[in-house]
């Protein structure tokens, strides 16, 4: 067997409260494409960030051609010939194509000024080599489409003689034709002996272009090998895992009448024809790949964005939420996915975070009553078992799990009818996860209705009464959750993989 170009051993990386990578390994070979496969949150992007020098691993080593190396920062990785092409290309829109290619290493004249003529000529040559001679190097980058920007990014990689090219979901925003062009380009890179790491959710792309695969699950490496020896079913199996190591609370589903009725909801660019019903005491799970439009639908129901079609009925009455304030008043609350950005106000104390949407209740004659605020904070943090030394502590000093509890307490304090949880346990530790799950069970038994968006299959399968699967802005399947629903089935539906297609 040939020597790997780049290899990783025992890489560990932890963030406060969560272990993102646990002793993972990866090998990349010259002239071959290795696919990195895993669910959302399996640790793929953390690994990319380690490879490109943005994060430093806590433990483990990185070897290039059997020499141990360390990346002090992004520039060090760049100098070692590692370059990454991201989903949303990180280039400079206002600069010309040639400047983007040669930024930081532009050819110079005798007087150390940039040799524009030489730079344009070299850029033209690089682009022609990639079969992209039609791109004018003097054009501004913003005039190009995403596929062409990828070409520029690849040209940049070639200009520094990158030996290792990382492609992090490069096809996410491309059309079919553009994807084919990209694959031809990857074939070209292979022929030139580059080692390529290809990250994608889409199984057919992986089988189309990659030679090898490595599967991550929950921050661990669970399998690797040659694609020609492995079936899609086997890979899906590795992604999901056989053992369900999380225990979900048993609860008595006591489902009542319909509470929320969404029909024909549409948005010009994000989703269309979304209809579903939520009943009292029910947990409705929304599953799909990242970018399937689940959060966007919920944000429209919550009034963050305005839908252009359809209606939302709560208890039979139509609500038109023009802003989150309207939705909160009607009794719908939303716990967003980006906890730090959209959920907690990190520089405000815990009690102020909790009272923020309920200020009209805790104030009288236009003045806040701090005693009431503290009482509110105490009541709802006790219910969710929040551990903090003081309510005056800034919310930002809490761990991820406890921050999530603050956000949930904040919404419970508004006494809602419907609570929408967007990836409620993303990035929080196992203990807090279990607490959040238990708490969701408690909520529905008190008559609340819960919509839970989750990309974690065990969570979807373990918690939901019914499951709706979305793909590319549409609802593609609805299931009553019972033992016949398997994780494999959900992944296939969400990613549009035909059964036994391999």
């Amino acid at each position: 067997m040939t020597q790997p170009k780049l290899s990783l051993f025992g890489i560990c990386k932890s963030f406060p409260g969560v272990r993102a990578l646990n002793e993972v390994g990866l090998e990349l070979y010259s002239g071959q494409v290795t696919a990195l496969i895993g669910e959302n949150g399996a640790g793929k992007s953390t690994l990319v960030k380690i490879l490109t020098g943005i994060y430093q691993p806590d433990a483990g080593e990185i070897k290039i051609e059997n020499k141990v190396i360390e990346f002090a920062g992004p520039h060090a990785a760049f100098e070692k010939g590692i370059t990454a092409i991201h989903q949303e290309t990180v280039l400079f829109d206002e600069l010309s194509v040639a400047e983007n290619i040669f930024l930081g290493h532009a050819p110079r004249t005798r007087f150390k000024t940039i040799d524009w003529r030489k730079m344009y000529a070299a850029a033209q040559e690089l682009l022609s080599d990639l079969g992209a001679g039609h791109i004018d190097p003097e054009m501004q980058l913003k005039e190009l489409g995403i596929a062409q920007k990828h070409l520029v990014a690849v040209a940049r990689a070639m200009s520094i003689d990158a030996e290792i090219v990382i492609m992090d979901e490069p096809t996410a925003a491309l059309s079919h034709k553009e994807i084919e062009d990209l694959f031809e380009l990857i074939e070209l890179l292979k022929r030139q002996g580059k080692a390529v790491l290809f990250i994608s959710h889409k199984m057919y792309e992986i089988y189309r272009i990659a030679d090898r695969f490595t599967v991550f699950r929950d921050g661990e490496m669970v399998g690797k090998g040659l694609l020609k020896d492995t079936s899609q079913d086997e890979i899906v199996h590795m992604m999901v895992g056989r053992s369900v190591d999380q225990i979900f609370p048993k609860r008595q589903a006591n489902i009542g009448k319909s509470v929320l009725c969404v029909s024909g909801l549409g948005h010009p660019t994000e989703f269309e024809d979304i209809s579903f019903e939520l009943r009292q005491g029910e947990i409705l799970g929304f599953y799909g790949l990242v970018g399937a439009g689940r959060s966007e639908v919920m944000q429209a129901i919550f009034g963050v964005t305005i839908p252009n079609a359809g209606s939302v009925l709560l208890d039979g009455k139509e609500i038109r939420a023009r802003s989150p304030a309207d939705a909160i008043k009607a009794g719908i609350v939303y716990v967003p996915e980006e906890r730090g950005q959209q959920g907690v106000v990190t520089d405000l104390p815990i009690y102020q975070n909790i009272s923020l949407p309920s200020l009209h209740k805790t104030s009288k004659n236009g003045f806040l009553r701090l005693a009431q605020e503290f009482a509110l904070a105490r009541e709802f943090t006790e219910r969710i078992d929040l551990r903090a030394s003081s309510f005056s502590q800034n919310a930002g000093t809490l761990s991820g799990g406890n921050q999530q509890k603050v956000v949930i307490a904040k919404w419970l304090a508004t006494r809602p009818r419907v609570i929408i949880l967007d990836e409620p346990t993303k990035g929080i530790d196992i203990g807090s996860k279990a607490a959040v799950h238990e708490f969701m069970g408690a909520l529905v038994s008190q008559g609340l209705s819960v919509i839970m968006i989750s990309s974690e299959l065990p969570e979807i399968l373990g918690m939901s009464d019914r499951i709706i699967v979305m793909r590319e802005g549409l609802i593609v399947a609805r299931y009553d959750n019972n033992d016949e629903i398997s994780a494999e089935l959900l992944i296939r539906t969400a990613a549009d993989i035909q059964e036994n297609a391999a």
Binding site: P16, P324, A325, S363
Partner: protein, 325 residues
Amino acid sequence: MSRILKTREIWLALVITVLIIAITLRAPGFARPENLFEIFNNTSILMILALGQMAVIITRSIDLSMASNLALSGMIVALINAAYPQIPVPMLMLLATFCGLVFGAFNGILVWKLGIPAIVVTLGTLTIFRGLIFQIAGGKWVNADKFSEDFVQYTRIDFLGLPLLSWYAIVIAGLFFLLMTRTPLGRSIYAIGVNPVASVYAGIDVGRTTFIAFCISGALAGFSGYLWVSRFVIGSVQVAAGYELTIIAACVIGGVSIAGGIGTVGSALLGALFLGVIGSALPVINISPFWQMAISGAAIIIAVILNARSSRQKGRIILKTGSAK
């Protein structure tokens, strides 16, 4: 956040005290109570303006038009007083406040509804308001002999040993403290400054809250317009020209973060007092007023460095807990 600021306020109070002691050593009598009250009185208008500016800065905006707003509102009541001396002065105070409120609301509407950055909007209105003064006054001044006795006295009357001007500042500071710490509006102002996105999700109307902050700063600028004209007994195009930067300087020295979300009533007041003390001390110890500018400039830079350091420290603490896991 509040703890850092608390200590910051104590530090600033200490610096001001040390400054007063040091100057007293050079110029005995500087620390006499009458003189200190005089300094306080001289700083009253700046304190009121700094409070308004603070509310706007906390929402991540800035109001560059405050001094022009002050001058325009002041000119309006000066002209009215000169023409109709029989109109009671409290009415004129209300009118000045109302004019300022309208001008502030104009800023706020542009920022809210058209989404123009506050710095651009208020840079525009800064010159517009100045230009209007020239228009309404026909380019003339309103001189001391044109004002009614009451108009001049309503900042000077002695009440419990302090001139009314000082009392206005004290009362407004008290009301502002209640506003910022004890009302839903004050809480919303902090929340949108710290995290506008999370505030939207919590049902706070970010645009409307910013608009109200501009109305507040405008109203205070308008009220200060009357105070200024009454105190210096002159209405002219040049009133408070360039003063907007002094107001912002007071906020920054006090520890109000230009990035928004951070700042207290105490910090704005102390920042203003610091500038007030420097301003009255330097002539006493024979230092040219140009040094005063250099010193306040240095104070701003030191304050910003301290701000940056305190926020960097915060980052380190987070990392420590991270590696402890």
